[in-house]
Subunit: 411 residues, 2 copies
Amino acid sequence: MKAELLTIGDELLIGQTTNTNAAWLGRRLSALGVRVGRTVTVSDTRAAIQQALDRAYAEARLVVCTGGLGPTHDDITREVVGAYFDAPLETNEDLLARVRRYYTRRGRDMPDTAPRLAQVPDGFEPLENPVGAAVGLWHEADDGRLIALLPGIPDEMTSIFDASVEPRLEAQPGIGEVHHRTLVTAGIAETQLQERLGDLSDALGPDVHLAYLPSTSGVRLRLSADATETDAQARLDAVEAVLRERAGRFIIGTGDVTLEDVLGDLLRAHNATLAAAESATGGLIGHRLTSVSGSSDYFLGGIVAYANAVKQDVLGVEGAALRAHGAVSEAVAKQMAAGARAVVGATHGISTTGIAGPTGGTEEKPVGTVWVGYADADGARARRFQFVEDRALNKKLFASAALEQARRSLV
Amino acid sequence: MKAELLTIGDELLIGQTTNTNAAWLGRRLSALGVRVGRTVTVSDTRAAIQQALDRAYAEARLVVCTGGLGPTHDDITREVVGAYFDAPLETNEDLLARVRRYYTRRGRDMPDTAPRLAQVPDGFEPLENPVGAAVGLWHEADDGRLIALLPGIPDEMTSIFDASVEPRLEAQPGIGEVHHRTLVTAGIAETQLQERLGDLSDALGPDVHLAYLPSTSGVRLRLSADATETDAQARLDAVEAVLRERAGRFIIGTGDVTLEDVLGDLLRAHNATLAAAESATGGLIGHRLTSVSGSSDYFLGGIVAYANAVKQDVLGVEGAALRAHGAVSEAVAKQMAAGARAVVGATHGISTTGIAGPTGGTEEKPVGTVWVGYADADGARARRFQFVEDRALNKKLFASAALEQARRSLV
C-alpha cells in the first residue's frame, strides 16, 4: 500500500517546530509495510490544503493528514476536507457531550469555539483521542482509498494512531509489507565504505534496496526488501552475509544501536570500567557515554582537561612532554589516557587532544588534527586522525574516533 | 520571495531520520524574509525527484533542494536536475583537484566514484563546502528563478547555506522585507514566560508578530515586523521595551547568542575562570562551554564524577555527606562545585548531581530531580530543580540550569 503524509502548519514551514510527526508516522507506516511515497508540508490555508489533498489523493491509496483539527480559527482542516469530499459538517451530539466533559473535568470554561471539535464531515468516522479534546477522523472510499485526519500535537497524534488507525490499516486487504534491516558501521567514511563494498548489484538483485545513511558517529546501511516475496528474510540474510564478508570489521551492530551502546556492552562483557580524559572534546565523550541508561555500570567518570595545567596537575601529564611535543601529540594523548585510568580508578582510559578550530591550527598540526589515546593494564597507545575545519563537527568526529578506538581494542 | 523546500531521501520518508534540515532551512529563510510555501520530501528515484522539482519550480521563485549529492550510486540529484534543465554534466577540473586534495589530506585513496563530486550541470555554479567533499550547486535562471542544491548531511548543508546561499539571497532584489528581532531568555519555561508577559495585543498592534521559540536552553522570543513600514525598527524598539519591562531579568541577550556565550563574556569581564563537576550531565556542561571558540580563556576543565568514588577521591566530597544525604543532595552539590574549583584551580565552580532517568527515581527524589551547585571565593550554594521524565531531555535541562545559575551569580 502506498501512502502520502500531509502535515499542515506554518510552524513547520518556518521551522519553529521540527516535523517529528512525519518521522514517527514514517516509521510506523513502514513497519506495517505501507510505503510512504511522499511527505508534504503546507500552510494552514484553504487553497494550500486543498491542492495538497488533491495531489495526495490522486496518487496514494492512504493519505494521513496531521494538524488543523483544533478549536481555533486557523484550524481549518476539517472544513477543507469536508468540502473536498462534498461532505457537509454535522455536529455529533456524543462528541459534543465529550468535549463539554473534557473542559469540566479540567475545571475550565468551554471556549466558544470548542463546539467545532464535535463537527464531523458526513461519511467520516470519529477516532477517539485518549489524551486531548480533538478527535481524529477516518474515511474509507468505495474504491478502497483511505484518509486519516489526526491532530498535530504529537502525543495526541500518536495516541490516536495507536488506538484507532493502526488496527484499521491492519484490517485492510493487501497491506503490503516491506522488511527493513539496518547494519550500523563505525570508523569508516561513506565513500571508503562504498568502495570496500564494491558493486553490489548481483547481491542486491532487483528486489533488495541498499541506502547509505551517514552521520558523525558512523554510516548506517539500510536494506529494504518487499516482504510479499516469500523469501524476503532469506534474501536479506544473503545480502547481509555479503556486506559482512566485505566490511565485517566495521559493522558494529544492527538496528538502532549506537557506538556508545556497543562499547558499553563490550565493557560490561569484559567486566571493565572506563575513564575519559578530554581536551578537544570538552566533555562530549562523557556526555555520549552517559546518554545510555545504565552506563554507570561501566563509565566511572573523567577529567575534562582543557587547560594544560589541568593536564599536568590532575592527570599527571609530564611538563616535559607538553614542552617537547605540544599538547596535541602522541605522548600527551597516551599520558592523558593513562592518567584518566589512574585518577578515576578505572580499568580502561581513553583520551582526546586536538585542534577543533577555527583558531589554533599550524602548518604541522592544522585544524582538524586530533590524537586519540587508549590505555589499559598493558599500557597506552595513541592514533592520529585528520578531520575537517568546522569546530562543532570536529568535536563530534573526535569523540566518535575515541569511542571507536576503545571499541576496536575490546572486540 | 516565495520558496519551496525539496528534501530528498528514503530515510526521511521511513522516519529513520527526522527532517531537521527542513526546520533549519525554514528558520533561516524566514529570517531572510523568504516565505516557505511548501516542503516536500520524496524518495531518491528519478521520477519522484523530477515530478517534485517540476511542481516546485512552477510555483516558487526559490527552490532549495537537499540530499542526493554524494558520490554513491543512489545520489542522483545532480543528474536529475541537470536533465531537467537540459544542462549536460561537465567535469570541473578545479573541483576535481579539490576532491583529490580532500582525500589526500586525509591520507586516503580517492574512491572510483569520487570524480562524480566534480561534475557540474552546465550553467550551475559550484558552492564551496567547508566541511565535506560534496559541493553545493546554484542556478539563477534568466527569469529570476533560483535553485540551490545542497547535500543532505546537516553539517554540510548548514555550512554551505551560511557561506554561499545566504549571501546570494541577500543580493537578490526584493528580499529581506521582514525585520526580525530575537530576545533570548533563560531560566524560565514557556508557559511561565507567557503568563509573565501577559496580554501583548496592544503592544504588538497589527503589524508586529511575536513567536515563542522554546528549546532546552531557554525560550527565544522572536519579533517580526513588516519592513516596508517606515517605522518598523521603532515599532520593534517599543515592543522590546515592553518585553524587557515585564521579563527583563530573564532576558540574557539578543539574536543568536547562547547561554554559554553570555556566561563566557561575563567570566571574561570578571577575569574569572570556571571549573565544572558533572555527575548527571556526564560532560555536557563542558561540551557546551567548549562549543564556544575561545572558551579556553575562561574554562579550565572539570571532573566528570559519575561514580560516587570519583566524587570522593577526585573532588573531595565527604563520605559522610554521601551517606547522610545521598549523592543527589544539596550538601553533595555544594561540595562538588567547591571541589571542582579547588582541583582545577579555577575562581568559580559549578556542579550537577541528579537523576536523569529512566531508572533511579524514588518517592522523595523522582526522576528529573537535580541539585545544581555553585562555588566562588565566598563559599558554595546549591539549588534544587524538578524537570521531566526523559533522560536525554533531563541532561540538557540540568546543564542549562547549572549554566544559568552561574550566569545569574555573575550578573
